[in-house]
């Protein structure tokens, strides 16, 4: 057997004259877990799409099991035993689990007609392979993210897959679900299946992978054994920059709280929540996915008003029945899903930045163009949003830069309290550091910041106080000094 199961050598790809891949090489051994890392836009998704036949390479060779592959189509990739699990899982939310599982094999077999009995059998065998318990007749759209991913994995396994590519598989998973996923990955490895694990999360790369490859701006930067790698090197490979971890220490905390929450309840989600936050503090709220943390955030921004309890802002009782109420009281909110809740993706970067403060940028009844442009320029510079032109659509930016726009939008309104739900989900390391630095400097300037996140290192690094939710109740509260990852985890589970 050859040393490598898969080799892609010196691959180049241009999009409208722009280099997306500049002679990259990726080599995967049989039965290994290989991590492909790199910041957003580094070309890793492009390479995956070339391997799976969605794009065609402009030059370079691809070998699989010692044979050179000429033109790859989605179907031929599957036939060769290469399976990709995309970030969106490439599934059909409107069809049943059974059909989602079986339909690919029907297509590969070039079936024209559908035999529902066969489909059920195929689906049953597929889930049995990794011991996944699921109702085959359920609509896929009704499953949780983790279950959808398992369906995608089961589906991938059906074709005698030899190489499974997982594109950022842990993005939307909780800690527990990631653990379960890793177990499955190890199971696959035991069956001598190679896994290409695409991720930019340090801890995951170290935990699961044996070898790694890092791309930056379409170029191969490094490749080798994960054992020879450390945090610092890895971050440097990814970003080309060196970072210093800066643990947040509040400089000056105001005397009176900006926000006080007393006995806040929302039926079915959380109850008896008591806390307060002063200007200059960063409060971290953490908990498992269904701990009520998201609902609490939504209540504080008026999107899901609480059933009972009190919310005091600057000592005065406030009724937050809608986002408008919250904005009037000086609360800003960066939602969990910035794509659907926080951004107008098809609109320009500039418009996205000024949308919440547009009322202040008017001359008479009309929008003041000059003022608007100055404001946009100011924020693009202040948050170093990487764009050649603020008139470009927000969708042209990477996740990190998009998150900066959402931030800019709120900062432009000068909130007293900024609530961020998962501020760095799906954001690359470089931007993550930058966003953390921005949040810390905001607090230093006297803003009260609440970070809701299940990324414990993020919480520990940036928060002066940490509150933990479990099953809708407060299960613990620590100061930054006494908190450790283990202490928090104990209170979370």
């Amino acid at each position: 057997m050859a040393e490598y199961l898969f080799r892609a050598v010196d691959i180049r790809k241009y999009f409208a004259g722009v280099k997306a891949l500049d002679g990259v090489t990726l080599e995967i051994k049989p039965g290994e877990i290989h991590c492909l890392a790199g910041e957003n836009g580094c070309g890793k998704s492009t390479l995956i799409k070339i391997i799976s036949g969605v794009y065609q390479r402009d030059s370079g060779t691809i070998e699989f099991e010692g044979k050179e592959l000429q033109k790859i189509t989605p179907l031929s990739a599957i036939e060769n035993g290469i399976q990709v699990i995309y970030q969106d899982f490439s599934i059909f939310p409107n069809l049943s689990v059974m059909e989602n599982l079986a339909i690919n094999s029907q297509l590969v077999a070039k079936k024209k007609l559908v035999n529902w009995k066969d489909m059920r059998k195929i689906a049953e065998e597929a889930v049995a392979r990794i011991g996944f318990q699921v109702d085959l007749d359920a609509r896929l759209g009704d499953l949780s993210v983790a279950e959808k991913q398992m369906v995608a994995i089961c589906r991938a396994l059906m074709f005698n897959a030899k190489l499974i590519i997982m594109d950022e598989p842990t993005t939307a998973l909780t800690k527990k679900e990631v653990k379960a996923l890793f177990k499955v990955i190890l199971q696959l490895k035991a069956q001598n299946i190679s896994i290409l694990f695409v991720s930019h999360k340090l801890d995951e790369v170290f935990e699961i992978s044996e070898r790694f490859t890092v791309f930056r701006s379409g170029k191969l930067i490094a490749s080798g054994n994960t054992a020879d790698l450390d945090d610092k090197k890895f971050t440097y490979y990814m970003t080309g920059r060196e970072f210093e971890q800066k643990i947040f220490e509040p400089k000056k905390i105001d005397e009176n709280p900006v926000l006080e929450v007393k006995k806040l309840c929302l039926e079915g989600h959380y109850s008896d929540i008591d806390f307060s936050i002063k200007g200059g503090e960063i409060l971290g709220i953490t908990g498992l996915l269904d701990s009520g943390r998201t609902e609490l955030a939504l209540s504080l921004f008026g999107m899901r008003p609480a059933d009972s309890g009190k919310i005091l802002i600057h000592g005065e009782e406030a009724e937050l029945k809608s986002p408008q109420d919250a904005i009037e009281k000086g609360i800003g909110f960066v939602p969990e899903d910035r794509l659907s809740e926080g951004l107008f993706l098809s609109q320009s970067i500039g418009d996205n930045i000024i949308i919440s403060e547009i009322d202040n940028l008017t001359k008479g009844k009309l929008v003041d163009k000059k003022k608007t442009e100055e404001e946009i320029e100011r924020w693009v510079k202040e948050l170093s949003i990487a764009t050649p032109d603020a008139n470009n659509a927000a969708s042209t930016l990477s996740g990190g830069n998009q998150q900066r726009i959402v931030l800019a939008k709120w900062l432009a309104c000068e909130p007293k309290l900024l609530i961020l739900n998962g501020p760095t989900v799906g954001v690359d390391i470089g931007s993550k550091h930058d966003i953390h630095a921005i949040l810390q400097s905001l607090a230093e300037k006297g803003m009260a910041v609440i970070i809701i996140s299940d990324d414990l290192p993020e919480i520990l690094e940036n928060c002066s106080r940490i509150m933990i939710l479990r099953d809708g109740k407060m299960s613990g509260e620590f100061s930054a000094a006494e908190a450790t990852e283990k202490l928090i985890l104990d209170k979370m589970m």
Binding site: S90, I91, P93, N94, I103, V114
Partner: protein, 342 residues
């Protein structure tokens, strides 16, 4: 058992069926004329043409597209075919005109399919454009005018009754034309395609997640192309049947039907964004529209109010489905669509 009732309660079809039932009882009470054999037959024959159109539209909407060109397509096909066979002095059966109409319909559908499938242009814009072109071609190039006479074969096809019902009270009798069989046949074929062919499952798959369908190995462009060809064929069959049943060819009288047909399909629970819907729902939704269009007069509602009722129905139908999805998708924050397969 519980589970079954629950499932029924979640389906649009159930509600549409109940509304149809309620409406029929109302008409029956007010006029005593609904559950008479000739009225039922009248409704059945009134269903043929809208029903056929609805099937074509249903498949297109299911794939995530939309077709507003079918009335123009059907008009052009029917007119061209009728005119051609009239000029030839054709005396044979309906078979040949039907074949010619199907061929023309397939070609016109292929034009839609090419733009939507292969060039990946928005279906709404494409079909708005082709509708205009088809109409213009018919009125300009073919100089269409009303044809008071149609070939004998077609005439016979429109008059031969599959079944004749006579109302014992009023003495009125209604004929169910043999074309009803074609309607039934198309229903069965479409149902089979949707449920038992990879092409049909591909329509659902594309409507649910187009890029996933491509990744899975579906030939997305080809499937869409074929789909519009099929829709063209079904629409042209409807066009010819309409001419046969009316015993004359009126080039513009089908134009403008698209809104009510789309309304019927959506009322029947088909998601306008694609991926979700059933054949049963499509037929029931169309039946409801046909009922309102034809039977309001029986309860003494003036014809001018018809549109108001159709409009109300659409709004109510939308409220019901919105209400359902809100209740099934509660919690978690991700907006789940409630999906249904054939």
């Amino acid at each position: 058992m519980r589970v079954k009732t629950n499932k029924l309660l979640k389906q649009n079809e159930t509600y549409i069926f109940l509304i149809i039932l309620a409406l029929s009882f109302l008409i029956q009470i007010r006029s005593g004329q609904f559950y008479t054999s000739n009225n039922i037959v009248d409704i059945m024959s009134a269903m043929i043409v809208p029903g056929l159109f609805a099937i074509g539209e249903f498949l297109v909407i299911l794939s995530g597209g939309i077709d507003v060109s079918f009335p123009a397509l059907a008009s052009l096909t029917a007119y061209a075919t009728t005119k051609m066979f009239l000029d030839m002095g054709y005396e044979g059966s309906v078979f040949l005109p039907l074949v010619v109409a199907i061929l023309i319909g397939a070609v016109l559908g292929a034009i839609n399919g090419f733009f939507v499938g292969y060039l990946n242009l928005p279906a709404m814009i494409v079909t708005l454009g082709t509708a205009s072109v088809f109409k213009g071609f018919m009125q300009g190039t073919l100089e269409s005018k009303q044809l008071a006479v149609i070939p004998t074969g077609m005439k016979n096809f429109g008059t031969v009754a599959l079944y004749t019902a006579t109302n014992s009270q009023s003495g009125l009798s209604s004929r169910l034309p043999i074309a009803f069989l074609m309607f039934v046949a198309v229903i069965i074929i479409a149902f089979f395609i949707l449920k038992y062919t990879m092409f049909g499952r591909g329509i659902y798959a594309i409507g649910g997640n187009e890029s996933a369908a491509y990744n899975a190995g579906f030939r997305v462009k080809w499937t869409k192309f074929l789909l519009y060809v099929f829709a063209g064929i079904v629409a042209s069959i409807a066009g010819i049947i309409r001419v046969c049943m009316m015993q004359q060819c009126h080039p513009t009288n089908m134009l403008g039907m698209e809104m009510n047909i789309i309304a019927g399909v959506v009322l029947g629970g088909t998601a306008i964004v694609g991926g979700k819907g059933t054949m049963t729902g499509c037929i029931l939704g169309t039946l409801l529209i046909v009922l309102v269009e034809n039977s309001m007069i029986l309860i003494g509602v003036p014809v001018v109010w018809k549109n108001v009722f159709v409009g109300l129905l659409i709004v109510i139908g939308t409220i019901i489905s919105a209400y359902q999805s809100e209740h099934s998708g509660a919690g978690k924050g991700n907006h789940k669509k409630k999906e249904e397969t054939a």
